[in-house]
């Protein structure tokens, strides 16, 4: 299988911030790669380089077999870009937006009119096709945005945080659409802050943080990286939390993670039932009122935490390694 996207030792600096630091990755043709990381991880910068919007400082990238920086014009005929930053015109109707993009892909008039109609049908926007985009809901806008990126029928699609800010139902609809495109053979590189999204859509996941690639693999491979299970304890009384953390910490090798909203402690463990029983006994001996106690498989969130030292949900504040403003 040939690579649709190849990235070798790519770096990009904005002032004092190293937005991309020696990033290398590969996406096989017809597959989906998710770039997972918080704001400021460098995901959008990488997408901007690969869509010819930004010149890298050093390194090499090839898209559809063509070199970034040399064959940008050719690459632009092969790619589609959608997501939080690429957008559609608010004052134009959905159809006008799609037809304009079709014209700029240099399709003839009949062809772009036909494709715009097709895309509106497919994205279930046909009723709203002749209304201005400013009257659209968030989900309709994203669907139109996705439709616009598909008008040129690009074999490679870049989706920059395609579902950020959408409600769960709309997000599921969009996921189904993306899955359809993949089934038709489109190569997709998507960026996301959501573990669930990466796990749901992608064949492979690249975890980024502070401009680095910190891990790469399938969702299962990344979970195996933790090498075991996660122990979870919920206490009834918040005042017991500190004592409970100390007790759990003495049983496990890693630092337990605390969720103050749920009064919950979680910690990666190597063993299984034995640790669970030991934890139960220790908490009981300590006189702590335990509401819930159990073992579960690690989530990608746990993996991310163990790789980077912070969670994905912590947003821009979650990149202690990055100095200066986030260019993401």
């Amino acid at each position: 299988m040939d690579a649709a996207i190849e990235v070798e030792h790519l770096s990009k600096r904005f002032g004092a911030t190293l937005a991309l630091d020696d990033v290398s990755l590969e996406v096989d043709s017809g597959r989906v790669l998710a770039l997972l990381g918080p704001n400021g991880a460098g995901k959008t910068t990488l997408v901007r380089v690969l869509t010819t919007l930004l010149q890298p400082d050093s390194g090499r990238a090839r898209v559809a077999g063509f070199d970034i920086g040399k064959d940008d014009k050719t690459i632009r005929t092969m790619i589609g870009l959608a997501g939080q930053y690429a957008t559609v015109d608010e004052l134009l109707t959905g159809r006008e937006n799609l037809e304009l993009v079709g014209l700029l892909y240099h399709l003839d008039k009949r062809e772009y009119e036909r494709r715009a109609q097709e895309a509106l049908e497919r994205m279930t926007l046909i009723g709203a096709g002749d209304k201005p985009v400013k009257t659209y809901s968030g989900g309709m806008r994203r669907r139109l945005d996705l439709a616009a990126s598909l008008i040129g029928r690009p074999p490679i699609l870049f989706l920059d945080e395609p579902t950020t800010g959408l409600d769960p139902r709309t997000r599921n609809d969009l996921w189904a659409l993306i899955e359809e495109l993949v089934a038709e053979g489109t190569t997709v590189l998507l960026t996301t802050q959501y573990m669930e999204e990466a796990e749901h859509l992608a064949n492979r996941i690249v975890v980024m943080d502070g401009g680095h690639v910190v891990a790469e693999g399938t969702a299962d491979e990344l979970k195996d990286h933790l090498g075991g299970n996660v122990l979870e304890v919920r206490v009834a009384d918040r005042n017991d939390l500190e004592k409970a953390v100390a007790l759990i910490a003495s049983l496990v090798s890693a630092v337990p993670r605390l969720d103050l909203d749920l009064n919950q402690i979680s910690a990666p463990i190597k063993g299984g039932a034995k640790v669970l029983i030991a934890a139960g006994r220790a908490l009981d001996d300590g006189g702590i009122d335990v509401e819930d106690l159990g073992i579960r498989r690690p989530s990608l969130d746990d993996v991310f935490l163990s790789l980077t030292g912070h969670t994905t949900a912590s947003g821009g504040d979650g990149t202690p390694s990055a100095s200066g403003p986030a260019h993401d």
Binding site: R48, T51, T52, L53, L54, Q55, A64, G65, F66, D71, K73, T74, R76, T77, M78, I79, L81, Q84, Y85, A86, T87, V88, D89, E90, L91, L92, E96, L100, V101, L103, L104, Y105, H106, R115, E118, A119, E121, R122, P132, A148, L150, G152, R153, P154, P155, L157, L181, E184, G185, T186
Partner: protein
């Protein structure tokens, strides 16, 4: 419909021909004209401002200003024609900063379109709007007593010069919009060159009445020489010295800011 994402074999893109670039430009121009038509309130505001200036200097201040050898209404109105075109140009800066911030420019730059077509389409749509504003303010000028005294050809040349100056200046606004990146700042920033060029010029009062230190600037800056030649073209009288200076200014402003704007567009980041 299953072929919506049908795979295509990678082949090097066909080179962009002039024909395709012009087609891209037409598409972008149409988009921008639709945007202008669909925000009539913005169009309206760009007409209100020169209307106020015109009425102010015709009826409120005009009575106190005496320019030897010419009726004041005929002295001041050609300058306000130019101002009407310049003030509308501010929307170029606003529109480009808005497109940049919203991500429209990212969208267009990721498409295989001709890159120069985006800015050309922007400025040509704004030129159409400027012509509309000029027609409006000329009608208003005629209504308040302004009259063309020269031959039809000369007057037409005067109008053409105003339009040419306005178009050249659109590229200054384009550069401002792409450089400051924020719609509010773009609007504020573009007021500045307009005010300096319009008020420190021969538009409202003769330069000789200004303090000595200001005269060299006010005498030679582009808006003054343009207004002087437009006035001469409308009124009759010697025109050539100012005219060639005005035309040179237009060409210089156009070329310099075209190059700056295209460069800014090529590396545009929101």
């Amino acid at each position: 419909m299953t072929d919506l994402a049908g795979k295509r074999l990678p082949t090097r893109a066909a080179p962009l021909t002039i024909g395709l670039a012009i087609r891209d430009m037409k598409g972008i121009t149409k988009r921008n004209l639709l945007r202008i038509i669909r925000t009539p309130q913005l169009l309206f505001m760009t007409l209100v401002q020169p209307t106020i200036i015109l009425l102010l200097f015709r009826y409120v201040l005009g009575g106190a200003i005496h320019v030897p050898g010419v009726d004041y209404v005929n002295y001041v109105v050609p300058g306000i024609f130019l101002e009407a075109v310049l003030i509308g140009g501010m929307t170029t800066a606003l529109a480009l900063a808005t497109d940049l911030q919203a991500g429209m420019i990212d969208r267009f730059r990721s498409l295989p379109m001709a890159r120069s077509a985006f800015l050309a389409g922007r400025t040509i749509a704004d030129l159409c709007r400027a012509v509309l504003a000029l027609v409006f303010i000329i009608c208003l000028g005629l209504l308040v007593g302004f009259r063309f005294h020269n031959s039809f050809g000369s007057c037409l040349a005067g109008v053409a010069l105003i339009i040419g100056f306005g178009y050249a200046f659109t590229w200054v606004y384009a550069a401002i919009g792409l450089a400051v990146k924020d719609p509010q700042t773009a609007q504020m920033t573009s007021i500045l060159p307009m005010f300096i060029l319009f008020f420190a010029s021969s538009a409202l009062v003769p330069v000789k009445t200004m303090p000595g230190w200001l005269q060299p600037f006010a005498d030679n800056q582009p808006a003054s020489v343009t207004i002087n030649s437009v006035r001469a073209l409308f009124e009759g009288g010697p025109v050539y010295h100012d005219l060639w200076q005005a035309v040179l200014w237009c060409i210089a402003i156009f070329v310099v800011f075209l190059v700056i704007s295209l460069n800014l567009y090529r590396r545009a980041t929101a």
